[in-house]
Amino acid sequence: MVELEMFQPTGLLGGDIDMHRPEDAEPTSNGLLGLAPSPLVSAGMLENRPSGELQTSFYDTTEQTLVEEAFTSNGLLGTTQSNDLLQSCSPLSQDDSLPNVSQILREYGNPAKSSDIPADSLFNGDSAAERLARISIKATTYDGKPLYIRRKREIRRRDPDSSSRQQQMGNLLDVPLHRLMDQLSLTTATKLANPENHQEPSRAKISQDKLWVDRYRPRVFADLLGDERVHRETMAWVKEWDWCVFGKKKGKKRARDDQDLDYNDEFHRPRERILLLSGPPGLGKTTLAHVVAKQAGYAVFEINASDARSGQIVDDRIRPALEAGAAVGGTKPVLVVIDEIDGATGSGENVGGFVHKLVELTSDKPRKKRGKKDPSANRPLLRPIICICNDLYASSLAKLRQHARIVRFNRPADIYIVKRLREICENEALKADSRALTALVGVAKGDLRGCLNTLQFVKARNQEVTETTIRAATIGMKEADTSMTSVLNDLFSPMSKKRVKEAGLTEEEETRYVDRLSREVDGSGSTDKVAMGCFEHYANLRRHDATFSRYEKANRWLTAYDHLSGAMRSEREYSLMPYLSYFLVPFYTLFQERGTPKVERPKDDYENYLKTKTNEEIYQSLSRCLRLACGRRGGDYRHLASEQVLRLEFAPYINRIISPPLRPVNRQVIRPEEKALLSRLVDVMVSMDLQFIQDKGEDAQLVYRLEPPIDVFVTYDGKRTSDISASRYAVRQLVAAEVEAQSIVNHAVAVDKYRNSFAPPEEAQDESRGDTEGVEQDGKLMRPYQLPPSRVPAKDTLADIKVDIADRPPVDFFGRPITKPIAPSGKGGSGSAPQTKYRVSYKFHEGNSAAVRKPVKMASFML
C-alpha cells in the first residue's frame, strides 16, 4: 500500500507496477525506504476496518508518522512545489549522467508522499493547511476525497485507469518511462549495496510523543497477538451477553453451545456473570478486554489500581454504571473492566470487601428474597464485567473464582512475538536482527510490553538492535523475579544451553557463577527457604561420595549460614543480609550436575514444624492439668510442669504409671491386688485430670482416648514402645468408669468439705471420705451419700469455684444466704423428714454437649 502511494503521483509507475508486476513492486518498495510493511499484511489488516473511522489500525498511525518523517526530513516541500521537484528530477535523467542515488531516492520518495499530505495535514494543524492549499491540485485529482481514497485501495487502483491518470501522465511526459525504470533499478541496486544510506532521512526525526506500547496497541480483534483460543473464548463470553444487552437472539451457528441449554436465566445472561482474565504481566490482558468490548459494541468503564478499590466503590461507582446501562452521553451499553483486581482491598471473609461486594452484585438472591418490596435495592446485573488479575490464586480472589469464568493467559510462542516485533522495528526504521529480538523476548519472558519499551529505549539512543544492546538495555529486567524452586534448580544444575543463549553469556562468563547465583538467591527474596531447600536436597545427590568430603563441606556452609543468620537476627544487624546468599552458592560447585531430578519444594521442615506445634500444645495442656491439679487438690506438681522436666522425665514415666497390666474383667470379680492397682491408677489419673474419653476411631470403632493425649510422647515412628502394654478397650472402659466415679466423689467431697467448714464440728466428723463403693450401671451412677443435715452457706472462697451451681447453697442477690423457713406445713413436708437423706445424682451419658452430661441431682427433677 505504501509503495502504491509512492508511485501514484508520478502516475507512471503506480498503475503499471502494482497491477501487472507485483513481484517488482516489493523489492522496489523495500529499496526505497525499507520501512513499508509487506502489502499482504497491510491488506489483511485493512479488510477488517470500518471504512468511516480514521484511526483504527496501528498501521494508520505508522503511515502518518512515516509520511511526516519523509516529508519534513528533506525540507524540500516547504519551499518548492511538487512540479518543480519533478522538473529538477528530469534534467538529471536527461543528462544521462549517473545521479547521486540518495538524491534520486529523496526525489522519488517525496513527490510520492505528497499525494497523501492532504489527508495527513488535516491532523497537522495550520502549517499543514497551508500545504494543503499548495498541493491541493493533486488532492482534487483524487475526486477531492483523499481520505477515502487512501483507505480503499480498490478505488485507488481503479483511479489510474480513469481520467486522473491521463492528467498526471501529461505532467510527467518529459521523463521517459524506460529511463525512470532504469533509475529505479539503479536505486535498488545501490540501496542493496549501501544499506546505511536510506535510513538517514527517517532517522532524522523520531516522534517521541507516544510510547510504542500505545502506538502499536492492537485496536481490532484481528490484530491481537497471542493464543487465538483465549481471544475467542473471551469474545464468545461477551457475545453471550448479546441477548441480554442487545436483545438479539443467539445466532444459528451457536448450536454447539448446547451444554448451556439447561441453564435458564430470565435475562438470558451467561451462567458466570464475571470473566476473570489472569496471566503474567505484559501479555495484553487489558488490551484484549478493551478490544473485545469495543468490537462487541460496548463502551468500556474501567476501574484499575489507581482507583480506590474498597467495597464502597462497588456501590458508588460500579453499580450506578451498570444500572445506567450506558455511559454518560453515549449510546453504547457499558462493560465494566476491573483491572488489577488481585490488589483489591478487603480480602478474605471481610463482608465489606471489594470482592465480596462484587460477588454480591452478580448474584440475584437478595432481590428474589425481597421481592417487590424494595425493587431499587438490588437490581439484577445486566451488563458484563471483566476482571483482570496477575495472580489467579491470590487470596483476595478466592471468592470470586467460584463465580467467574476464568480465562488464563499463557506466554505466546516466541516466534509470534518476534515476528510482531520485527514488523514494528521495520515500521520504526529500527534495524533489528531476529537473533537480537529472540534474545529480547527470551529475557523478557514473553512480556510484549517490556519488549516494546526496550526497543523504544534502544531506538531513542539511536542504536541498532543487536544482541549486545539488548543485553545492555535489559540488565534490570533479567532476574527480576525468580521463584524459590527455580533458584534451587539453578543451584543444583548447570545452566541449560538455552538459558546460556538467552542470557548471551560467553564461555567464560558461563563459568563464573558466584555473582550470578548469589544475585539469584537474593532475588528469590527468601534466602532461608532456599537454604532449607538446599538442605533437603543435597543428600539426594552424589551418592558416590566416598569420603563424605562434599557432604562435610556442604554442611559447613549450611551451619555457617545458619550461624550468621541467627546472629544477624539476634543482634539486629540486618546490614549483613547481603552476605547471606554467598553461603549457599558453594552448593553449585559441590553438587551441580546435569540431568539430576528437579528440586522439589522443601516441605519436611514445615511438616515437622506442624507436628512440633501439635505436640507442644499437648505438653501445654498437660502442664495446665498439672497446675490445675496443684491448685485444686493441694498437690505440688508445679515443679514437674517446668518444660525440661516435663518433656524429658515426666512424660515418659507418667505414661508407664497410668498403664498397669490390668485384665479386662468385671470389677466385681477382680482380684484384691488388682483392685488395689486399679484404685491407685484411678487416684493418679483423677489427681492429674487425665481422662479416658470415648471416641470414634478412624474405622468407626469406639475407642477410649486419653485426654490430654499424652501417649504421643511414647509413640515414636508411629508405634508405641513395646514395654507399655496397649490397654484394651474393655480395660479402658473400666478405668474410665472408675475415674468418672472417683471424680464425682471428689466433687462431692469438695462440696461437702466446703459445706462442713461451716457446719458444727461434731457433725462434720462422721462424714465418710473417699468412698469408692458405688452402685453403677452403665453410665448411670447412683451413690448413697450422707448429706450433712444443716447447711450454712457463707461467702465465696476459692474452693467454691469448682462447685456445681446446683449444689451451691442458695443466696440472694447480695450473696447472703437464703434461709428457707422450714415450715412443718410446707409442701411435701420435707422439713419433717428423718435426718438421713440419700443424695442421688443422675448423669445423662448421651448427647453431644457437656452441658447435659453433668451430674444433676434428682431433686432438680422433682420440682
Partner: protein
Amino acid sequence: MSLWVDKYRPRTLDDLHYHHDLTARLKSLAASGDFPHMLFYGPSGAGKKTRITCTLRQLFGAGVEKLRIDQRVFMTPSRRKLDLNVVQSNFHIEITPSEVGMYDRVVIQEILKEIAQTQQVDLNAKQRFKVVIINDADTLSRDAQAALRRTMEKYMNNMRIILCANSTSKLIAPIKSRCLLVRVAAPSSEEMQHALEYVAKREKFTLPPEASQQIIEDSNGNLRKAMLVLEALKMQSPDMSGPLSIAKPDWETYCHKVADMIIQEQTPQRVMDVRAKFYELLSHCIPPTVILKTVAERVVDKVDESIKADVMHWAAFYEVRMRVGNKKIFHLEAWVVKVMSLYKHSFYGIELDDFED
C-alpha cells in the same frame, strides 16, 4: 492421693533426707534475719526446688503453702501479648521467665519492679521482704539478666531473689556476685537408696535391693526420675518380683537407636534416615541440645578410642553453633556427617583421602 514424687516430697527443712550440712546452713540463714539473694544450682533432680520451698517455709511459716496460680498477661513493646503462669502466696512469687522465650526481659522488668516497689503489707509476716523465685535462671537471656542485676541491688529492702539454675555457666558474673551460691549436688547412691526405701516403707511394700540398685544406676543421680521410675515399676509389676526391666525414657531409647544407625552405616541414604529420626525427636519437643548430647555420648561409647575426642569436640562445636542459629536440624546433621566422615576415615585408614575428587 497423688504421685509419690509429690507425696513424699519433704515439706520442711527437717524432713530432708540428705545434704544435712546444707540444711543446717539454710536454717541458720533463715533464722538470722539477714537473708541474702540466693542462687541454687545443681543437676536436675537433686532437690533444688524442694530446698527452696523448704527454706521459704522456714522463713515465713505455713502461710507460703497457700498458693494462688494466676496467668498474667504482658504486653511486649511490639504489642504482642504474652501469657505467663505466676504462682504466688502472700510472701513470695514464683515465675519461670523462659516460658515466654525471648521476651523474658519484659517479664523480669515488669514483675520485679512491681513487687519491688510494694512493701510487705502483712504486719504479721515474719520477714519484711518478699521473695521472688526465678526458675530456669540459666535460660534467661542476656538482656533479662542485665535487667535483673540492677534491680537486685536497688530493691534489696523489699525483696529477695532466689534463682534456680542447673549450671552457673550461663549466668553473667555480676549476678553471680550478688547472690549467695548454693550448690545442691546430686544425691549419692546411698542417699538415694535411703530415700527409695523410705518411700517403700511408707507405701507398705518391700523393695528388693537389686531393684533399687538398678533404679539408682539408671536414674543417674536424679532423685525425681528415680521416684518416677519406682512408681512406674510398681505399677507395671505390682509384686516387684522376678526380673525387672527398668524402662528408659522413650526419647533416650530412640536417641540410642540413632547413634547405632550412625555407626552401622555411613552412606548418603543413612544421612537421610538419620535426619528423619532427628525430625521425629524434634517434633516430640525434645530439646536439640539434649538430643545431640545423648546421641554423642552413645556414639562415643561405641567408637574407636582414636576418634572419641574428635566426636565430642564436634558435638560441642555444633552445640554452640546450634544455640546461636535458628535451624537446629542443620547443626544436628552437620555433626552426623562429620562423625560419619571421621568414622570412615578411621575405619578405612587415611589412604582414602587419595580417592577424593
